[in-house]
Amino acid sequence: MYAHPAAAGGFAMTVVSLEQPYAGHAPQVLTLAAQVPGGAYFSKWIIAVDEDVDPSNINQVLWAMSTRCNPAEDIDILRQTWSTWLDPTQNLPDERPYGSKALINACMEHRYIREFSKRTKVRRSVYESVAARWEHLGFAGAPPKLWSLQD
């Protein structure tokens, strides 16, 4: 789980990385993450991604939203939710305690998860070989770590 600091100090966006063990699990997690006491206040964007996506890496989250989310099917809106007097998008200001949330399911479609397009990943053996050669290839510093590799 990650709350990106750029989203109003981590206030407005919650990203959850999960495995999908059964039908309906991702929407279940989204709903809970949107409404647990620690997550319900103000948060506008609740995003579920699969376990191969690093929730703290906004680039990977955008990739998942682009390749695993069909907006017409995978976004639900909660309305009249717990918000804050600080929200500048609610006007007149009297509206501000009442917000809304988008629950974005950016996981592979569970109904067709076996048929879902396979993603590309770096093979673990290739990663280890490249990481061992990293300095020799002319790069400074430690080789970057990858969140998921192909086994």
């Binding site: 770096v122 093979r123 290739v126 490249v130 990481a131 050669r133 290839l137 002319g138 970057p144 990858l146």
Partner: protein, 116 residues
């Protein structure tokens, strides 16, 4: 040669149909002409520190992709130019022949050497 009009000198300026009459300059004179070929683009990328040459032999079978993917975990990582491709495990030969490279860069290919 017809004058090419400069639409936008900066990438963050929106590309609009109207350029003020006084702002009309030739693109070449402004230094913002689009690169005419890959070599030109490589030179320009290198001039702004956005090109890294990899001289170690690298397999184009997965290894080259893995290196690029790893290097680009960093935002604004430079483009990578691989000078040498190693022979891949499947036995195919290097893609980096002088002949094909020259074709890609619009130069006259070197004379063909008869195979032994």
């Amino acid at each position: 040669m017809a004058e090419r009009r400069l639409v936008s000198a900066d990438s963050h300026v929106s590309l609009g149909p109207s350029v003020p009459a006084g702002a009309s300059r030739t693109a070449a004179a402004s230094g913002h002409e689009a690169p005419r070929d890959l070599r030109d683009w490589i030179h320009r990328a290198e001039a702004i520190g956005q090109l890294r040459r990899i001289t170690e032999p690298v397999s184009r079978n997965e290894e080259m992709g893995a290196i690029t993917y790893l290097a680009h975990q960093e935002i604004r990582a430079p483009a990578l130019l691989f000078a040498t491709t190693a022979t891949t495990r499947s036995g195919t030969t290097s893609t980096g022949s002088a002949c094909r490279g020259a074709r890609a860069c619009t130069r006259t290919p070197p004379p063909r050497v008869a195979s032994p």
